[in-house]
């Protein structure tokens, strides 16, 4: 009896031990496997010289690159054609991870674990955590296309703190002058159907804008069987401008994030909780009393917001066009063309010149960087460099010749009506386009050497041919040719523009103050907007008092210091 009991106990113990050994061995070996694939797969020849810039694809060897993007989608399908071509022609397999939930938190966890992919989209956290490697030498030695591309803005790419380049901005580097037809920036958007209903009225102020929405909502309390929503705004995670940014534009300032910057003195001041902001929120309070404000606006997340806009029953919103691009595409693919939006640059009073449209500044703190975990940064930079070649740029932007576009006699690209319809299909895009990847890669913007625009939307002929009937009606009614013409022609950018991409430094008092300001805005602005009109004043005063307690000076000091630094270092000498 005793013997058997002991044997069983021993046996059990051995089993447990054996299992734990196996388990630990397993986890270790799988680690090794995943990290060792890239060197062993490429192994033999790092020989192919970087100088063959003529045929860049020859320089990239079999390689798996893992990358994380801050985009939530559209997520390509497994058999996506572009990824397949990248693999076949360049030998590069891309393992992508998309954001789910909150970016700051995701990165916070990633940093705490030191668990980075090879390539990652920009964030100040990552630079602060030394998670990304300096790129300037890599670019100079291995990436002729990137070197040429960023030549003009090289100094601006450098981190103000240590002078290294960590990120490759995705937008804002133009070949020649910028010209765009589609507007992607901030504006007060309104459905084309509303404009049509009232015979395309001209308007410039908030009162006129909300009057249109009010009248339309009164006439059509339901759209497609669901209640009409007059106005919505998104305040979720880092997408906070829907709630916070409108006052600066209404006051005639460009998008500097949380501050107004005096173009002459280059000094930043806050506008939240000031009299610059108050009239706007008072107006939203008024329209809420009329039942036009989306009551759930400030309780919704990004997905719910997109779904709501996609349903076509939101008449107006303050937004940035790119932020609801997925909803726009969805409306188009549902055929609800008159439910898509036109942006208008509203201002507080008629004498103010609007400054919504800006000359595209270099999109700092954006695009991809390479992390310290990347086994072979040289190969990765060569891959990115290859993607910047004209051939791949066209492949990603225009598509495949003969399939996605045709070449006209004059050498200009165009699409047939069928091709155009196809391009609007969201599910088709997941299979044949790589929009998220393309969004973050460095881009040739403006015109290619052969005279074609950087994409179909900016090719004048394509743009006009792609306009729906309602679009043509809107444009001709307002006597405009493109959507950007609804905005005043912007003056030259201030050297220090824009202030929103200033790195506040992780964990610093400035960053804490910024978070507190945001918390207060998220908490009290909705309360002010949704309160009864007679209570607005008291909520607003409470808001101002509480804002007074925040260390806003720490925030402003950091912003002003950086603005000054930019003027000193970026002014062309």
């Amino acid at each position: 009896m005793g013997v058997r009991a002991r044997k069983t106990a021993l046996g059990l113990l051995m089993l447990i031990l054996a299992f734990s050994v196996v388990a630990s061995a397993c986890s270790k070996s799988s680690n090794n496997e995943s990290s060792s694939t890239s060197p062993s797969a490429s192994g033999s020849s790092p020989a192919a010289s970087p100088s063959e810039s003529g045929s860049p694809e020859a320089t990239v060897e079999p390689l798996t690159i893992s990358l994380f993007t801050a985009a939530t989608g559209p997520i390509p399908t497994d058999d996506n054609k572009i990824y397949k071509e990248i693999k076949e022609q360049l030998g590069v397999t891309l393992k992508e991870e998309y954001l789910v939930g909150d970016i700051e938190q995701k990165l916070g966890v990633m940093i705490a674990g030191g668990d980075y992919p090879d390539m990652i989209t920009a964030n100040a956290k990552l630079t602060a955590a030394k998670a990304v490697i300096p790129l300037e030498d890599l670019i100079e030695q291995h990436a002729p296309n990137l070197k040429k591309h960023y030549g003009k803005v090289w100094e601006q790419l450098k981190d103000p703190d240590d002078g290294h380049i960590y990120w490759m901005p995705n937008y804002g580097v133009y070949q020649g002058d910028f010209s765009s037809t589609e507007y992607y920036g901030p504006a007060f958007f309104i459905q084309k159907a509303v404009l049509k209903e009232f015979g395309y009225p001209k308007f410039k102020t908030l009162d006129e804008y909300f009057k249109l929405i009010e009248d339309y909502a009164a006439k059509y309390p339901e759209i497609d069987g669901q209640p009409t929503i007059g106005f919505t705004a998104l305040a979720f995670d880092w997408r906070d401008w829907g709630l916070r940014n409108a006052p600066q534009h209404l006051a005639g300032h460009p998008n500097d994030g949380g501050v107004l910057v005096d173009p002459v003195t280059n000094v930043a001041t806050l506008y939240s909780a000031t009299d610059t902001a108050k009239p706007y929120y008072k107006k939203l309070n008024d329209i809420n009393a009329k039942g036009l404000m989306d009551k759930e606006a400030f309780a919704q997340n990004y997905d719910q917001f997109l779904a709501k806009v996609s349903s076509g029953r939101v008449l107006g919103m303050f937004e940035q066009r790119w932020n609801f691009g997925q909803a726009h595409d969805s409306l188009v693919s549902q055929g609800k063309f008159e439910r898509t939006y036109v942006g208008f640059p509203l201002v507080y009073d008629m004498n103010t010149t609007d400054y919504y449209l800006d000359r595209p500044p270099i999109n700092l703190m954006n695009g991809f960087g390479i992390t310290v975990n990347a086994e072979d940064p040289v190969k990765i930079i060569k891959f990115i460099d290859t993607m910047l070649s004209e051939k791949w740029q066209k492949r990603l932007s225009w598509g495949e010749e003969g399939v996605d576009y045709l070449v006209g006699d004059n050498g200009l690209y165009y699409r047939t009506p069928e091709m155009r319809t196809q391009q609007e299909d969201v599910t088709w895009k997941q299979k044949f386009k790589a929009e998220s990847l393309w969004g973050y890669l460095p881009k040739l913007e403006g015109k290619y050497p052969d005279g074609n625009a950087d994409g179909a939307a900016n090719q004048p002929d394509e743009f006009f041919a792609n306009l729906k009937d309602i679009d043509k009606e809107v444009l001709s009614a307002y006597d405009r040719k493109t959507w950007t013409e609804f905005f005043s022609v912007p003056p030259d950018n201030r050297v220090s523009y824009p202030a929103w991409n200033i790195d506040l430094i992780e964990g610093s008092p400035a960053k804490v103050a910024n978070q507190k300001m945001k918390d207060l805005d998220f908490k009290l602005l909705p309360r002010a907007i949704l309160s009864k009109p007679e209570n607005f004043e008291s909520v607003w005063n409470d808001y101002v008092t509480q804002m007074g307690k925040v260390d806003t000076k720490a925030y402003l000091d950091r912003v002003n210091e950086q603005l000054k630094w930019r003027v000193e270092n970026w002014t062309s000498k």
């Binding site: 002991r6 916070g108 705490a112 602060a128 955590a129 759930e296 309780a299 964990g507 918390d519 998220f522």
Partner: protein, 322 residues
């Protein structure tokens, strides 16, 4: 190994002799000690070894540098945490939501277990049990999605039903008003966990000696008498043990996910718990040390609460954990 001579073993338990030395007792219990080794190792490696990371709480920790190569800031992180004007509010929310979830969770789970015990048809009993514990397996993302859909002002079932019954005139923005938030959290917790929590009570009830019921019946006790005088006292030890264990979690605010997913700017004053505060001012803005400081605070409070609950249970002559 198999051919070893086997020492004489006493199968029957034997009262430990006073005179027995420590080492001889160790030798006698060596198999048990040996068997507890893996667990001990597990606890040491995963629960005690990481404690050295608490050093971070006294630094201004920057990732990318080693822990010895950081700026020491003393108690600054704790000062930031405790002196923040929002801290009392955050602490209040945490404790309030914990207590609500704790009390609701106990009352409903015990109540349901008692009710289910009274069902004589096993088929119906099984069905109810299965249905009531299924939500436990849903993840919080889905549960909170369902909750926000049910509470929506546009076609949410709660508002619809209340409107049809003429209890309210216009839809209530449940998730936009702070005063409802604690209740919503409590009810959601109950909905998700009540079935799961009854399992342990049902097991405890099953182990109550049936002769006690028979005796009570002979004495003329009805159903309610039997529940009150036999079943409940029978499962009291289990209730007390579970209560002691749950008291240690009181600074968790009844779960993190639910406030995180359901909360929004408008209800911040009621929804922000310690964990969310730390997430925002620690992890999200890159101040990891604050997270560690809050972790230390929570651990210390939890241990104190656990011992208090244990001591009280001991004084009252109840079962206890330690």
């Amino acid at each position: 190994m198999t051919r070893q001579t086997v020492p004489k073993m006493n199968i029957a338990p034997q009262p430990a002799r006073r005179t027995e030395s420590f080492w001889s007792r160790v030798i006698r219990q060596r198999q048990l000690i040996f068997m507890s080794f893996p667990m001990l190792l597990y606890v040491l490696v995963f629960a005690y070894a990481p404690i050295w990371g608490w050093l971070m709480a006294f630094q201004s920790y920057k990732p990318g540098f080693s822990i010895t190569n950081q700026t020491w800031v003393g108690l600054d992180q704790f000062r930031f945490l405790f002196l923040d004007e929002g801290f009392t509010r955050v602490l209040r929310n945490t404790i309030a939501m914990s207590l609500i979830s704790l009390i609701l969770g106990f009352v409903t789970a015990i109540g349901l277990a008692l009710l289910m015990n009274e069902i004589k048809k096993t088929g119906i009993k099984r069905l109810i049990q299965t249905i009531s514990y299924l939500p436990h397996f849903l993840s919080w993302v889905i549960v909170t999605g369902l909750v926000s859909m049910a509470l929506s002002t546009e076609g949410g079932i709660i508002n619809d039903v209340l409107m049809k019954l003429h209890i309210i005139k216009e839809p209530i923005l449940w998730l936009g008003e702070g005063k409802y938030f604690w209740g919503i959290v409590g009810m959601t917790n109950v909905w998700k966990e009540v079935g799961w929590n009854t399992i342990i009570y049902l097991a405890a009830i099953a182990s109550v000696d049936p002769s006690l019921y028979e005796a009570a019946e002979v004495d003329g006790a009805g159903r309610f008498r039997k529940i009150w005088n036999v079943t409940l006292p029978g499962i009291r030890p289990v209730i007390v043990i579970l209560l002691i264990m749950n008291v240690g979690w009181i600074l968790n605010g009844g779960g993190f996910d639910i406030q995180y997913f359901l909360g929004n700017g408008q209800v911040l004053d009621w929804s922000e718990t310690i964990d969310i505060f730390v997430l925002k001012y620690g992890l999200r803005i890159g101040n990891y040390s604050l997270g560690v400081a809050a972790g230390i605070f929570k651990t210390v409070v939890s241990i104190v609460l656990l011992y208090c609950a244990n001591t009280i249970a001991k004084r009252l002559g109840e079962e206890r954990l330690i």
